[in-house]
């Protein structure tokens, strides 16, 4: 049987579905599990803040993967839903401080939009701790690293995300 | 620096929670110290001594007993090194190791007068014995 066949065999799918619905994933595979975290960073402040963290060699966990967007207001809620569907354990969205948006108003939209999205996700069982908006300016390298460390720690304590995940996407 | 001194240094840094590497040797602490002339090791030297790990010398210095704890150096230190806390950390390390006091209890009665406030005696006791 090829790997693909193994993964897609009815038994395997059933087992993983069970695991997912029972929420047992956290306990069983804790040994090898590392969280998957997506960080959307706006190009002007937070992405530069992440670069500054690098310049200052301020480390944060490797499971944080940054996706560059022009503005935090560019992040469509669908991207976040997609991330959870694809197995993300946490999603953090970083933008310029309110009032400092490079595009004047983008982060205000982000703030309101994400408040709604996150409470909807919470209702769906994706706990509030798995989603976060943080304002990081281009000069806040240390804050970026600290935020990422804190967020990764939080995700680790929450364990694997099994809600919304399309287990056909799991690999 | 001996291993024992390294341990003492570790303990002192834990007690005071200060970062000696931030010291830029400006001397503001010494210049602010009302008891400067009573000290053999000066406040501004504490950061360097601790950085180098010369802990025995610090623990035997007069400074740790003569510091008034007036916080002038803590207040004015531009780098947040807070030398007063360093001195106090070394003093506590010394007190813990000797297990006794600098002033012995029997030394005290002859030194007090009818007006001596409790605050003074408490301060002495707190500062000089475990």
């Amino acid at each position: 049987m090829s790997v693909t066949e193994k993964m897609t065999s009815p038994e395997a799918v059933l087992e993983r579905e069970n695991l997912a619905y029972l929420g047992d994933a956290k306990g069983k595979s804790e040994g090898e599990w590392t969280p998957k975290i997506v960080a959307f960073c706006c190009n002007w402040c937070s992405y530069a803040g992440a670069d500054l963290a690098g310049n200052n060699r301020a480390s944060y966990p490797a499971e944080i993967k940054i996706i560059r967007v022009p503005c935090s207001g560019r992040v469509n809620p669908l991207f976040i839903l997609r991330a959870f569907q694809k197995g993300a354990d946490g999603v953090i969205l970083c933008g310029c401080h309110p009032g400092d948006c490079h595009y004047m108003t983008g982060n205000y939209y982000t703030r309101r939009r994400m408040a709604l999205l996150f409470s909807m996700l919470d209702y769906l069982g994706v706990e509030k701790g798995r989603t976060r908006v943080e304002w990081v300016s281009a000069s806040e390298g240390a804050k970026f690293a600290a935020t990422m460390n804190e967020f990764a720690e939080k995700i680790r304590s929450l364990g694997r995300n099994v809600r919304l995940e399309d287990i056909r996407c799991r690999n | 620096m001996t291993i024992e001194e390294a341990n003492i240094r570790e303990e002192v840094l834990l007690i005071c929670g200060c970062d000696v590497t931030r010291c830029m040797k400006c001397g503001k602490c010494s210049a602010s110290c009302p008891a400067y002339d009573e000290f053999d090791i000066k406040p501004h030297q504490f950061a360097s001594y601790i950085a180098r790990g010369d802990m025995y010398e610090l623990m035997q210095s007069k400074t740790i007993w003569n510091c008034l704890g007036c916080f002038a150096c803590v207040e004015r230190c531009p780098r947040d090194v807070r030398p007063g806390k360093l001195i106090d950390g070394v003093r506590q390390a010394a007190v813990r190791r000797r297990g006794g006091t600098h002033l012995q209890p029997e030394d005290i009665p002859s030194r007090i007068d009818p007006d001596t406030p409790q605050q003074l005696l408490m301060s002495v006791l707190r500062r000089e014995r475990k």
């Binding site: 996706i67 469509n76 991207f79 | 000066k42």
Partner: protein
């Protein structure tokens, strides 16, 4: 399917030490669309760039991924390489495996897989890239300089001499700035106003320069090449075009008790005033808070005495609107507030002065006509103490600044020598932490103060300054080198206060969307390679607004900013960012949501005939003006029907990134 080339940079050991670059290149080879992958020591070097260009031609690449430093660093470089090699520059994507990988992770076990993941993500994105064409926008051939100190003056002159129109907006009634308050300048000891006033006059007379003094920038809109700026011309209550500058109004003004800001409050001035004698323009201003007419409605002496009827109590603020192609910020600095430094008795004794106050005391046009004297009893001091680093290099943000103010060591040596020159019997003691004198002829200058003038330098900060019964100031410090207490009965104490950016910069930074650091200094686009440009295109900086610096450095930077402005204004058209929004007319339902969220007014609506599933229909459809769109993507998220998309950051591209980043 694209034909993708992946280029992995070692960045010397910056990346290679924590990322197995060969393994990243190897992993790239099995990615969809990748036809070529390699690694190289320095991809940004000429050889590295040639490697990319040659590979594009050799393998017929249609897209390129460079795994290297941050795109903020070299994206433009690699795009240019692609362009030269005949590939659309927007077919290049960067995987940031330095700042966001090798520099934040400690070993290859962690670094390599993350770098591979970032590479895959970039490949996934570039697979969906499409060639983009830059648009064009016009350039208004006029520059605005905000701030009329030496930085602004020099920038304006250099631009104007190159043949372009320049406007200077200055907040105070006269140009000249801090330099006009100085007596002499280091290290040559030439008179500050002797070298500054000719430049001020040149500005006033230059055919290409327009001066807006006593004015402030009210609002800024637009973008590089086409800024629209509103300038508030505050009411002077004196008509600039009528006033002859005779000064009779000032001599007659009965209200003489207003604080003289130019002399740092050491003396007073009249309510109608020019800040100093050589002010440009030489037109007075009425200080309404001090003016008897404005307070009581009476007086009016100045108006009665004005032979040309230039005084107009009814004058109102005026807003003018002007277009500019480039803006230079040169708002300069002030000294920090010394009140929290109570241990130096600044609040308690008038004989404790700031260095800038001493500068005014030493100046022939100053409050003491250049005679060195104590402000309390006008006695000439015999013992003087200078205290360095007051508020500089201070981590306590309640009263100080963490940076070195850079100029104090030199001006203290200067002031000490000036005093010794005129009053050889004065003893001068300088309490210092370090003496920092890098610069041409700077250390020699400081040594001259010590060796030739006998200035006493004492290593150590001062603990306390205590006023004494005899009027002296007891300065208590410690000489850290011989471990002894030093007590000096000084007649005067001078505090070298830290410099800080003019507080107005916060407001301006918001208007111009500039980034400022924790200390309110402007951030440059690149600290080494683009030191006079702001991250916002078309905005430049000059002088202390960017960081502490002295006059020669400021003038040099002013020239640099000017040439950047001239380089911009010399162009007839500018290339615009092609990463702009675009609406799909088949999906657009004309709801106007995108128009409402667009901060640039880039979206308009038009009736257009469309063909939908073979049906002809006339619909109301959103249209994006690519010259106005800045590419923020707000519309693309707000659009309820998914018609709006952002080129270069399309929904599909970001989705592909999300998918890949989670797939490992």
């Amino acid at each position: 399917m694209q034909r993708i080339g992946v280029f992995v940079c070692h960045c010397g050991s910056n990346i290679a030490a924590t990322v197995d670059v060969a393994a990243v290149a190897e992993a790239a080879k099995s990615q969809p669309g990748v036809v070529f992958a390699t690694d190289y020591t320095y991809m940004c070097s000429e050889n590295g760039q040639n490697l990319i260009a040659d590979s594009i031609k050799e393998y017929g690449l249609t897209a390129v991924v460079v795994c290297s430093c941050s795109p903020r660093m070299h994206e433009a470089t690699f795009r240019k390489v692609a362009d030269k090699a005949g590939l659309n520059p927007y077919m290049v994507e960067i995987a940031n495996i330095r700042e966001q990988c090798s520099w934040v992770h400690k070993d290859t076990e962690i670094g390599t897989p993350k770098a591979i993941s970032l590479m895959k993500t970039a490949v996934a994105k570039v697979n969906l890239n499409t060639p983009l064409q830059e648009g064009e926008s016009k350039v208004t051939k006029r520059a605005l300089i905000i701030g009329g100190g030496i930085a602004g003056i020099q920038t304006a002159l250099d631009i104007a001499d190159a043949g372009y129109k320049v406007d200077i907006v200055e907040k105070t009634p006269s140009i000249g700035g801090r330099m006009s308050q100085l007596d002499k300048t280091f290290p040559t000891l030439d008179c500050s106003s002797c070298i500054l006033t000719p430049k001020m006059t040149e500005v006033a007379q230059h055919e290409n320069i327009t001066l807006y003094t006593y004015s402030e920038v009210e609002s800024v809109s637009g973008y590089v090449g086409d800024f629209t700026v509103e300038i508030r011309r505050k009411a002077r209550y004196v008509h600039e075009d009528i006033c002859t500058g005779c000064g009779l109004c000032m001599t007659k003004c009965p209200s003489k008790k207003a604080k003289n800001e130019f002399n740092r409050g050491l003396n007073t001035r009249t309510a109608i005033y020019t800040p100093f004698a050589q002010a440009i323009p030489n037109v007075p201003v009425i200080d309404t808070e001090a003016c008897i007419h404005f307070r009581t409605g009476k007086c009016g002496i100045c108006a009665k005495n004005c032979a040309v009827q230039a005084i107009d109590y009814e004058q109102k603020d005026e807003i003018i609107t002007e277009k500019y192609g480039a803006i230079v910020v040169a708002t300069g600095f002030d000294l920090i507030d010394l009140k929290p430094f109570g241990e130096y008795a600044y609040n308690l004794s008038p004989d404790v002065v700031s260095s800038l106050e001493l500068e005014r005391i030493l100046n022939a046009a100053g409050p003491t006509s250049g005679h060195l004297q104590r402000m309390s009893d006008h006695r000439q001091p015999k013992e003087m103490v200078f205290i360095q680093c007051v508020g500089s290099r201070c981590e306590d943000d309640r009263r100080g600044k963490p940076y070195c103010s850079k100029i104090c060591c030199m001006y203290t040596a200067k002031q000490a020598m000036l005093i010794k020159d005129h009053y050889p019997d004065v003893n001068i003691h300088v309490f210092y932490i370090d003496v920092r004198t890098p610069g041409k002829a700077f250390d020699e200058f400081y040594r001259r103060a010590v060796e030739d003038y006998g200035v006493d330098y004492i290593k150590g900060q001062v603990g306390k300054v205590t006023p004494q019964a005899d009027g002296t100031l007891l300065v208590h410090g410690v000489d850290m080198l011989d471990q002894k207490v030093v007590e000096i009965n000084a007649d005067m104490v001078v505090l070298a206060a830290a410099v800080e950016p003019n507080p107005d910069i916060r407001k301006l930074a918001t208007m111009l969307t500039l980034s400022i650091d924790n200390n309110n200094f402007l951030n440059e686009a690149h600290p080494k390679l683009r030191p006079v440009e702001a991250a916002t295109a078309g905005v430049f900086m000059s002088g202390v607004v960017q960081g502490p610096r002295d006059i020669p450095e400021t003038v040099a930077q002013a020239g640099a900013a000017a040439i950047k402005v001239v380089g911009l204004l010399a162009k007839d058209k500018l290339k615009t960012n092609p990463c702009v929004a675009q609406s799909d007319e088949l999906y657009c339902n004309g709801c106007s949501v995108c128009q409402n969220v667009c901060p640039y007014g880039a979206i308009s609506y038009t009736e257009k005939e469309v063909r939908d599933h073979g049906v002809r229909d006339t619909r109301r459809i959103a249209q994006v003006n690519p010259a106005l769109c800045k590419g923020c993507g707000a519309c693309s998220v707000a659009c309820p029907s998914g018609a709006m998309n952002l080129k270069g950051f399309s929904n599909r591209q970001i989705m592909a990134e999300v998918d890949t980043v989670l797939c490992q």
